[in-house]
């Protein structure tokens, strides 16, 4: 076994241990955060170093290829940004901060394991590893109000149910193919996909990832958990598991041979319902986090557009869009967690006149929300554009029209936020101070979102190469 192949995961595990040690004695919050930023920063470089490695580990249950390494790199960048974003972690008690970072690392570790797993049981275990850390992270916060506990309980119950459904699907697939290895399942799939039981098996497995991605029949947890959880924790939940879920959706859907009409039809319906429901429900939200929750449901629908093509073009568009989505969401959460004084939730009226209180934050917010709305020249537009091309190539015209109408609907609520920040007066709300590191993060996210939108050529080519590796 080549140890280097497993380096990013080992590193995260060691980092979690480091924070475990750190939690044994008193240490200042600033020191903890400094260590975390430093360590996760190194993590990004380690992932860059292992980017081009390929190989199989653990009896072929674990595959290191460009596809998995790209997603791991994304996850490590995400973790790094989130750790910077947690600089003034207002909603978590100082003494719990090492634990907070520890569980973030463990959860990220689970997600990294997930994107490399090519065997059903490994997938399940790594997914649970990540979920269990989140079950603990959600209730960790300063004031344990009923909202927080409710969120935690809901996440556990829905999560457990989704895992159960997924396991059930795995049992079907195992029963049909006598194997838990994706590569072997794939060989036997062409004869199974014609049978209802094969489709049901695949769909049930997908349910577990639908839950993570908050696709419609599994979306119920999203608004409540976003609302009831600390801003910093949500910034993790809103981005990282979704990246891994997108990767796994691609891996599982890839099992289906080309021309699996029934499976695609189900996905088309789910995608259409998901984006329509998400966008319409978001129209009436006042709480920014709830609004982002519904927007994430809608975006899950957009992401399915790429997945249901069953083609590399679609998968690479998904990879692009999920990257853009992570950056845009982090931009929004950065603003939310900075504006929030004591870690409380932020409503639309709380950000009124933000452009006078902090021009930079207002600009980040505008870029983030315009990006989510899919307005050029942001990465959100480019991602959506690629998804549309991929899906329309496969002839899903009706679905694309639904998606286009949805984009138009969604403009209203995204614009509403920008309007509140730019079009209204502060009405006595205080100025928001932005620290130096947070300022850098603001600039970084703005530049990244716009650059990715304007110059996507390199990335999309890279994503295509990465996605081709799983077609084998």
């Amino acid at each position: 076994m080549d140890v280097v192949l497993f380096l990013p995961e080992t590193y995260l595990l060691l980092m979690a241990l480091a924070f475990f040690c750190q939690s044994l004695w008193k240490s200042s919050a600033q020191l903890n955060q400094g260590i975390a930023v430093f360590l996760t920063g190194i993590g990004v470089f380690i992932n860059l170093y292992t980017l081009n490695m390929t190989g199989d580990l653990f009896y072929q249950a674990y595959r290191v290829d460009l596809f998995s390494q790209t997603f791991k790199l994304l996850l490590s960048v995400g973790l790094f940004l989130i750790v910077i974003l947690c600089r003034k972690n207002k909603s978590i008690e100082e003494r719990l901060q090492p634990e907070f970072f520890m569980f973030l690392c463990v959860s990220a570790l689970g997600l990294m394991l997930m994107v490399s797993s090519v065997e059903l049981i490994t997938i399940l275990i790594s997914m649970e590893l990540s979920s269990y850390s989140l079950y603990i992270l959600i209730p960790i916060s300063k004031d344990i109000s009923h909202g927080r506990i409710e969120a935690a309980v809901k996440y556990i119950i829905f999560g457990a149910a989704a895992t159960g459904i997924m396991l059930f699907g795995m049992s079907y697939i195992f029963g049909l193919t006598q194997s838990t290895y994706l590569s072997e399942i794939m060989n036997k799939m062409p004869e199974l996909i014609g049978q209802p039981v094969g489709i049901v098996g695949i769909l049930l497995i997908l349910c577990g990832f639908f839950y993570k991605l908050s696709v419609v029949p599994f979306h119920f947890w999203t608004p409540d958990i976003y609302e009831g959880t600390a801003n910093e924790t949500v910034s993790f939940i809103a981005t990282m598991p979704k990246i891994a879920a997108a990767a796994l959706l691609i891996r599982i859907v890839n099992l289906a041979p080309p021309g699996s009409v029934d499976l695609v039809q189900v996905l088309v319906v789910i995608a259409a319902v998901s984006m329509t429901f998400g966008n319409i429900a978001a129209l009436v939200q006042k709480d920014l986090k709830r609004l982002l929750a519904y927007s994430s449901i809608a975006h899950a629908g957009y992401i399915l557009l790429g997945i249901l093509t069953l083609k590399v073009d679609g998968y690479s568009a998904v990879m692009f869009h999920i990257t853009a989505y992570m950056l845009m969401n982090l931009a929004c959460f950065l603003v939310i967690s900075t504006v929030s004084k004591e870690g409380e939730n932020v409503t639309i009226s709380d950000i009124s006149g933000l452009y006078k209180r902090s021009p930079l934050l207002a600009f980040t917010l505008a870029v983030g929300f315009f990006g989510l709305a899919g307005i050029p020249p942001t990465a959100g537009f480019t991602g959506k554009f690629f998804l549309f091309i991929a899906a329309l190539k496969e002839g899903h015209l009706a679905l694309i029209i639904i998606a286009a109408v949805n984009t138009a609907i969604s403009i209203y609520y995204y614009l509403n936020i920008v309007r509140s920040a730019y079009g209204q007066d502060p009405d006595g709300l205080p100025a928001v101070s932005v620290s130096f590191s947070s300022r850098l993060l603001n600039y970084g996210l703005i530049i990244a979102i716009i650059l990715l939108g304007v110059l996507p050529a390199k990335f999309i080519e890279f994503a295509r190469t990465a996605c081709e590796t799983i077609k084998l």
């Binding site: 984009t407 138009a408 050529a457």
Partner: protein
């Protein structure tokens, strides 16, 4: 690349025109002093205007190809390129955009007193996006500019607008977005059919598009452009946006943004979906007549100066779409000239309203009436532009409207007869406005007359009104070849359809 003439100049002029304002806008953030920021923006925009002049002087009016071409691969995976170039249709529109930005800066000198830097930032972004829209030859590039332009325009209305700015800005944004998402779908559909986003290449592939396909693509295009023009049932965002926008916003909105719609018809609908355009032409002609008469009639009843001019825009733009969908030389050239004329005249009228608004803080006619004696210079300018707006002989609009009407009467006598009331209405509402402002019942008002700055930025507009009015030759000459080419494209498509 046989549709593109490589850049005649030794520097990439169109890219410079797009990126110079952007660079200027970024530098703007490093300037602390507000006056310096104003001067800087003025210098940048003037420089951009001066830099855009070689476009006219080096333009070859004899060729139908796109000139000053630039071509760089941008997203090779999807065959998306950074292709720029202009022809006789877009040349004047590019020049109009660069010409108006410095005027907008001057007009906002006193009017904008909060968030000065950000305001000028938005103005420069607008300048960059406008040039981009009119010079893009790649559909994706065009779409990006088309949409990106929304953000600074939205901010211009939402931050520096009047009391109803929130409603107006959101309405403006959503209307445009709704139109453009369908544009996006149509654009992807075209790409999948032909495998390119290159607009001139799409024009040559029309034989691949069945009528049914053209029908839907035209509808998708048509909604986006009709909202932007705006044509009668889609016009409701315009009065709201115009009334609430600051002067510079109104000017840009009227002079450049509305042209994007008619330009879209000329650049996309006619050459890419020729058969569908012919099929829809009668309906569009009827809608245009409705816009002309309805816009004029509503304008007659307004008590708010800006609203009156906004509705007059609906009527004027009706003449433009009327001219476009006649498919004959007079109609098309008249329409293009009328686009420029409307940009100059209506822009000037909004500037005039801005001048009086700075003094009285009211846009109502009743609050500003009877000022001929106290502001003679102002009334001189205002009256002049009113005459131009109602197409008085000797002014620019007369030439444009005459060409359009000539076009109408050659092919459709009945439609022509129906458009005559619109011409009469234009005279009615403009004279009524002028009469009340100049010689109406005088209130207890005492405003200072126009200052040097205001005279300076209105004078170039006066020159152009008279120039186009008396000698439209230089403006029409550049478009002959391109318009002829456009008509050829339509005729070829029509012939193919007949063979089928």
């Amino acid at each position: 690349m046989d549709f593109l003439i490589p850049n005649q100049l030794n520097y990439p002029i169109l890219s410079v025109l797009i990126f110079a304002p952007l660079a200027g806008a970024i530098v703007l953030f490093m300037i602390r002093n507000e006056t310096v920021a104003r001067i800087w923006t003025l210098l940048v925009s003037l420089a951009v205007f001066v830099l855009s002049l070689p476009l006219y002087f080096n333009f070859d009016p004899s060729t139908t190809k796109y000139q000053f071409g630039e071509h760089t691969a941008w997203i090779p995976a999807f065959n998306i390129n950074y292709t720029l170039g202009i022809d006789g249709i877009s040349l004047l529109l590019v020049l109009l955009s660069t010409f108006l930005i410095p005027i907008c800066v001057l007009a906002s000198w006193k009017y904008i007193d909060k968030r000065v830097k950000e305001f000028h930032f938005c103005l420069l972004l607008m300048g960059s996006a406008c040039v981009g829209i009119f010079s893009s030859l790649d559909f994706v590039l065009f779409y990006i500019f088309w949409e990106a332009m929304l953000i600074p325009m939205y901010l211009l209305i939402a931050v520096w607008g009047g009391p109803e700015k929130v409603y107006a800005s959101i309405k403006f944004f959503i209307y445009t977005m709704v139109g453009s998402v369908f544009l996006l779908v149509a654009m992807i559909a075209l790409y999948l059919k032909v495998g390119t986003f290159c607009i001139p290449e799409l024009m040559t592939q029309t034989h691949l598009f069945s009528f049914n396909f053209q029908f839907w693509v035209f509808l998708a295009f048509g909604i986006a452009f009709a909202i932007k023009v705006p044509m009668a049932p889609f016009h409701t965002w315009l009065p709201a946006a115009h009334v609430q926008a600051p002067t510079a916003g109104s000017v840009l909105l009227a002079s450049v943004l509305l042209k994007m719609g008619t330009y879209g018809f000329l650049r996309f609908c006619l050459p890419i979906t020729p058969n569908a355009s012919m099929y829809f032409a009668p309906y569009i002609l009827i809608i245009s007549i409705c816009s002309i008469v309805y816009g004029g009639y509503v304008a007659l009843g307004q008590s708010d100066m800006k609203k009156l001019i906004a509705y007059s825009s609906v009527a004027h733009m009706g003449f433009v779409t009327l001219g476009i969908f006649l498919f004959n030389k007079y109609g098309l050239e008249g329409a293009i000239l009328q686009m420029i004329n409307h940009g100059i005249t209506t822009g000037a009228l909004f500037l005039c309203v801005g001048i009086i608004y700075e003094r009285s803080h009211s846009r109502l006619i009743a609050d500003n009436s009877g000022i001929a004696k106290i502001m003679p210079i102002y009334i001189g300018f205002f009256g002049f532009f009113c005459l131009s707006s109602m197409a008085f002989p000797g002014t620019n609009s007369f030439v444009g409207e005459l060409l359009v009407l000539l076009g109408v009467f050659t092919d459709h006598k009945l439609i022509g007869a129906l458009s005559i009331p619109g011409v009469v209405l234009a005279a009615a509402y403009m004279l009524h406005l002028l009469q009340r402002i100049a010689w109406g019942k005088k209130g207890k008002i005492n405003f200072p007359d126009m200052n040097i700055r205001e005279v300076i930025y209105l004078t170039p507009l006066v020159i152009f009104v008279l120039w186009i009015g008396f000698a439209p030759g230089p403006f029409l000459d550049v478009m002959h070849a391109s318009v002829g080419h456009l008509m050829d494209q339509l005729q070829t498509a029509g012939a193919v359809a007949l063979v089928k």
